[in-house]
Every structure is written in structure tokens, then in C-alpha cells.
């Protein structure tokens, strides 16, 4: 039997807020969601246990495809974000000095002082047919008529990368900052090419940062709702949008809950596969 006195007691009391938050706000709703997803409506207000909504996901190609599309686009967005963010993070961590460093970091941060909705509308103002870029192209004679830049996959991708840039830059900067410059110098002294230095010195060192950045960006992108819906228009088709529709416009909580549970399971599975493939452990990624 556990004795709750003195130090012991205060430890548990201090732990309580965390446990309560996790339990009441995360674990309990998820369990309830699981319960809702496992019932089938028979008639007005009557339900029975069934796997119907899960089989629905696997048998209706529409839902499957939406999930696949969301996952593939999220992976692409994650990789592209990494590709763009890496040089930026390198510059901030290693090249820029003193004040410049802080300024650059601030420049990455400032867009996030504005809410995501406002940022997305900003993109819409820029890209729409009667928008700023279209207007500029016509004014400069580069285009003879209005150009519609919204409502396609490339726009969605741009928006997603823009929205997740910071979450990749921060962990990369913090890991790269810890790297000893002499490692790179030594590699050059021993005759390594720039490519070899990046491949066998910098990348392995930065790997924990890369992994934690990728996990955060992938999860954020997969769970994003605003950007794909607003920028994608009639072709958006995002899995979270599907969940929202089931809950709010179709009143089909059971189906929506099943999708929610599936999204959680499948995305966790994807992250796990990614970790296995890159030979990293979750522990390392979290520690960075």
C-alpha cells in the first residue's frame, strides 16, 4: 500500500494537474470517441454495437482515397518543408552572428503572431483571380487575362509548407547549434567534399532534430483543416474535412468518430514506420 505522506504526497499533488489534464481532456474523450464509433443507429435514438463504420471506411473507395491523398500530400509537404528549412536553419545556427541571428529567428516567428485563419485569407487575397498577383501579371503584360492561382493542389501545398515552416526550423536550429564546428573543419582537412561533409557529418548529427521536426510537421499537416479547405476549394478533399463534415453537416457522429479513431491509428502507424525506416528511436527525437 502506498503511503501518501510528506514528500510523497506533494509529488503526487504536483503531478495531479498533469494527470487530470491528460486524463480528462485527452484520454477520456478519445475513449468516448471509440465508444461512439462502435455503435450503429437502428432507429430514432436506438443504437447497437457494430463495426459498420469501420468496414465503411475500407469498402467505400472514396474515404480510403481521401485518406491516402491526405497522407501522401502530408508526407510530401513534410519533406519539402525539411528541404527548405534546412539551409535556413543552418544559416541561423552557424552563419549568422549576434544581432542578425536574433533578427532572422524573429522573422521566422513573426508570421505566427497572426492567427492561421488570417494568414490563409492573406494567401487568398494574393492568389485569387481578382487578386494582387493576377493583377500584377496583367499590368506588366505577362498575362493577357485574369489568372486563377487558387483552388489547386500546388496552392494547398504552398499554404501547408508556409504554415509549418517554423515547426521545422526551431528543432533544426537547436540541434545544429549544439554541433561543434571543428567536426566540419576536421572533415574538410581530411579531404572530404562538401557533399560528404553534409552526408556523413552534419546530417547524422542533426538527425534527432530532423526527426522531431518531421513528426511535428507531419502531424500538423495531416490534422490541418483550414488551409486545404480554403485554398483547395472544390478539389480540397482532406481527411479532417471529412471528419468535420460527418460530425457537423451529416450528424453522423458514429462515422465521424470512426474516422477520428482511424486517423489517430493510421497516422501513428505512419510515424512509427518513418522512425523504423530512418533507424531512429522515438526517445532520441523527443530528447532533441
Amino acid at each position: 500500500m502506498l503511503k501518501l505522506t510528506g514528500k510523497n504526497l506533494s509529488f503526487y499533488l504536483l503531478l495531479m494537474p498533469l494527470l487530470l489534464t491528460l486524463g480528462l481532456l485527452i484520454v477520456l474523450p478519445q475513449l468516448d470517441m471509440l465508444g461512439v464509433s462502435l455503435r450503429e443507429r437502428i432507429s430514432y435514438g436506438e443504437y447497437k454495437f457494430s463495426f459498420l463504420h469501420y468496414t465503411e471506411f475500407f469498402t467505400e473507395p472514396l474515404y480510403w482515397n481521401t485518406f491516402l491523398r491526405t497522407a501522401v500530400m502530408s508526407i510530401m509537404a513534410t519533406l519539402l518543408t525539411l528541404l527548405i528549412a534546412f539551409p535556413i536553419a543552418w544559416y541561423i545556427a552557424k552563419v549568422a552572428q549576434g544581432k542578425n541571428k536574433k533578427l532572422l529567428f524573429l522573422a521566422c516567428l513573426i508570421p505566427f503572431w497572426v492567427s492561421e485563419l488570417v494568414r490563409t485569407y492573406g494567401w487568398m487575397i494574393l492568389l485569387r483571380e481578382s487578386g494582387i498577383i493576377s493583377g500584377f501579371l496583367q499590368w506588366s503584360g505577362l498575362s493577357s487575362g485574369p489568372v486563377e492561382l487558387l483552388y489547386n493542389d500546388i496552392t494547398v501545398m504552398t499554404g501547408l509548407i508556409y504554415a509549418s515552416m517554423l515547426f521545422m526550423v526551431v528543432p533544426l536550429v537547436s540541434t545544429l547549434e549544439g554541433m561543434d564546428d571543428s567536426l566540419v573543419e576536421a572533415a574538410y582537412d581530411l579531404g572530404a567534399s562538401t557533399f560528404t561533409v553534409i552526408r556523413s557529418i552534419i546530417l547524422p548529427y542533426a538527425m534527432p532534430g530532423v526527426i522531431s521536426g518531421c513528426i511535428v510537421v507531419f502531424m500538423l499537416t495531416l490534422g490541418n483543416y483550414l488551409t486545404p479547405t480554403l485554398l483547395g476549394g472544390k478539389h480540397s478533399l482532406w481527411f479532417t474535412e471529412q471528419i468535420f463534415t460527418q460530425f457537423i453537416t451529416r450528424f453522423n457522429w458514429e462515422q465521424g468518430a470512426a474516422f477520428g479513431v482511424l486517423l489517430l491509428t493510421l497516422s501513428s502507424l505512419l510515424v512509427w514506420t518513418g522512425l523504423k525506416l530512418s533507424g531512429q528511436s522515438f526517445k532520441q527525437a523527443v530528447a532533441s
Binding site: 435514438g45 472514396l62 472544390k234 478539389h235
Partner: protein, 357 residues
């Protein structure tokens, strides 16, 4: 912790408790209203507050959102809501989110009798009435042209390629079904027939998806698309069309050949509403002709209030006259109550249209 510190803490606590009880007792009576944009203009709210002392808190919403919100709380959180009349019985049977209306507390002579009777009939469950009419309007076409002879089918015509917008919701399916010569309302109680009609509409909408600029989701988004000229033909509400007509003089609402779709938004009481008295007071208040006219000016739609048309501003009644003549008025298709199960079918159809590339 020292004794004095504990003492201070206690007195602070006591202070906090007394402050919170004070704030409860000092709080004015309030009415929490869940409604559509424009249905509760500030001017009307102010006047109501002045006359009754009841504070009105407005949340803007739409049909699906209202049902979802009330379903999540089992009918709590609001004192008065305004769903469309065809969406009440289904939601009530399924989730029991409303309570019956006590008609004796309403001044029924302020309502247009035919509309009150129709709404009472359409919102009855087990002999109890759950809704009374407030605002009515239609869905049809909004066109950036002088063309008056239009049909929902024109949304798929090459003349408007890439310049079309509509909502991906049930009215669109029903509008197209009528335009294709079907009668979806007659098939409401025959699921097989209804599914067949939906199948044909689905095919048509997938075929002409390339015509669509964007699916709109809120009235303001649609007005923006039309105003900027990015969209020239859209399915939308009459009020939006008339608003644009007042602004531009050119864009206007057109009742389609197969008939505009008519809806009536009602007043309904949520099952766990806390202030029914205030709700009845609000209903009686806004059904006065002068007040109803003010709401018409703000919402752009006409109300079920007797005599309100005498107070409505001229520009709106002019736009209305261009859009409607007696024949097209008689041709309005009023939504009957939606039976259970249909929305599931429609949902899948809409999902497939959305997913088609």
C-alpha cells in the same frame, strides 16, 4: 505556511466567493439566441433591451450547426433557436433537443395565418407543436446578366464555364432534381426512388464539375465571388441576390424555371433552455410589423409578420418585383419535413461529388 498567511488566504477566498455570488445576483436577465446572420440586428436588440431589460446574446449559425450544437449539449446552452421548418421533426425524434411551444403565450394574430398553420403542421411531433414561422425566403439563381429565363441546368452550361458557384449541400441536389424533371419531394418517403434520383443528380454534377469555380459555404463568400465578377451564375438565396442588385443594379436573383425552393426559418425552444419567458417575449416583440420590417431590411428576407410589408424599404421591394411574378411565386417548391435516413443518402452523394476529379 504562517498563520497570518492562512488568514489572508481565507479572507481572499471569502471575498472571491462573495464577489461571484454578487455577480450572479446582479446579472441581468438574458436571452441566448442561436440564429442566422441578419436575423437579430443591433437596433432591434437595443430596443428590446430598453423595453424589457432583458439582455440578448446572439450566436450566428446555420441549420446543421444548430442541430449539432444542441445535440452535443442535449438541448442546453441557448434559450431560443431558429432552424428551418423542415429540419425540426427529424432532429426532435432523433435527439429530443426541443421542447413544445406554448401557443397561448404567443400573439398569434401577429403571424400570417396560412404560414403559421403550415409551419405548425410541419413541425408537429406526437400532436405537439415545436416551431412557429419567422422568416421565409427562397433559393434559386443569382445571375450577372439580364437573362430572366434561367434554369438550374444552366449551371452546367458551357456559357458559364468556370464561372459557376453553388453550395455542396442538400438544396443543390434538390434544385437539380427538379430541373431534371424529377419531383424529389414526392419521393421523400420512397427511399429507393429517392436514391435513384440522387444517382442521376450525382452523375450530372460530377460531369459538369469543371464548370464550378468554387463551392461556397457562407452567404458572404458567395456575394464576394459575384461582386468581383469571378462568378457570373450561382445558386443562392434571394436575399443575397437582392443585396447585390441594390449595389450593382445588374446582378439579381432569378427564380429558376423549375421553381425556386422555399424555406421558412422558425422559432423553436431548446429542451434545456433556461428562459422561456424571455423567448416568448422576444418572439412577440419581433413579430410586430415595424420591428419585422427592420429585420427584413437587415436580413433581406420577408417575415411571417402581418402588415410588415408596409414598412419595408422601397429598393428591396423593387428587386423582389423583378425576381418574382405571380406565376413564379405560385411555382415555389416548399420543403416538406425531411424523413430520417435521407440525409445519410444525400451525404454520401455529396461526398462522392466532392471527391470526383
Amino acid at each position: 505556511m504562517s498563520r497570518s498567511a492562512i488568514k489572508i488566504r481565507h479572507s481572499l477566498l471569502a471575498l472571491a466567493v462573495s464577489a461571484s455570488t454578487l455577480s450572479i445576483s446582479a446579472q441581468a436577465e438574458e436571452l441566448r439566441l442561436l440564429t442566422w446572420g441578419g436575423y437579430a440586428p443591433q437596433e432591434v436588440i437595443d430596443q428590446f433591451e430598453k423595453e424589457t431589460g432583458i439582455e440578448v446574446k446572439v450566436t450566428k449559425s446555420n441549420n446543421e450547426d444548430m442541430i449539432s450544437k444542441l445535440r452535443a449539449t442535449r438541448g442546453a446552452g441557448y434559450d431560443l433557436v431558429q432552424p428551418s421548418q423542415d429540419r425540426i421533426t427529424g432532429a426532435q425524434k432523433e435527439y429530443r433537443i426541443y421542447k413544445p411551444i406554448d401557443l397561448s403565450k404567443l400573439k398569434s394574430d401577429r403571424f400570417i395565418a396560412s404560414m403559421l398553420d403550415a409551419t405548425k403542421k410541419n413541425t408537429s411531433v406526437n400532436g405537439k407543436v415545436y416551431g412557429v414561422p419567422h422568416i421565409w425566403g427562397t433559393s434559386g439563381l443569382i445571375a450577372n446578366s439580364d437573362q430572366q429565363n434561367l434554369s438550374f441546368n444552366d449551371l452546367c452550361s458551357d456559357d458559364y464555364k468556370g464561372k459557376v458557384s453553388y453550395r455542396l449541400k442538400r438544396p443543390t441536389l434538390i434544385g437539380f432534381a427538379f430541373a431534371m424533371g424529377e419531383d424529389p419531394f414526392a419521393a421523400y418517403n420512397d427511399q429507393k426512388k429517392y436514391a435513384e434520383i440522387l444517382g442521376r443528380v450525382e452523375q450530372k454534377l460530377i460531369q459538369c464539375k469543371s464548370n464550378v469555380k468554387a463551392y461556397w459555404s457562407g452567404g458572404d463568400a458567395l456575394i464576394n465571388l459575384l461582386r468581383s465578377g469571378e462568378v457570373t451564375l450561382a445558386m443562392g438565396w434571394d436575399a443575397g441576390g437582392w443585396k447585390l442588385h441594390k449595389e450593382t443594379g445588374k446582378i439579381n436573383f432569378v427564380a429558376p424555371k423549375s421553381g425556386a425552393l422555399g424555406w421558412i426559418d422558425t422559432f423553436a425552444l431548446p429542451a434545456k433552455g433556461k428562459n422561456d419567458e424571455a423567448a416568448y417575449k422576444w418572439i412577440n416583440f419581433v413579430m410586430q410589423p415595424e420591428i419585422a420590417a427592420k429585420i427584413t431590411d437587415s436580413a433581406g428576407n420577408f417575415t411571417a409578420s402581418v402588415g410588415a410589408e408596409n414598412y419595408v424599404n422601397k429598393a428591396l421591394s423593387n428587386s423582389y418585383k423583378i425576381s418574382y411574378n405571380q406565376t413564379s411565386l405560385d411555382n415555389i417548391k416548399w420543403y416538406p419535413p425531411v424523413p430520417a435516413g435521407l440525409e445519410q443518402l444525400e451525404g454520401k452523394t455529396l461526398d462522392r461529388i466532392k471527391a470526383a476529379q
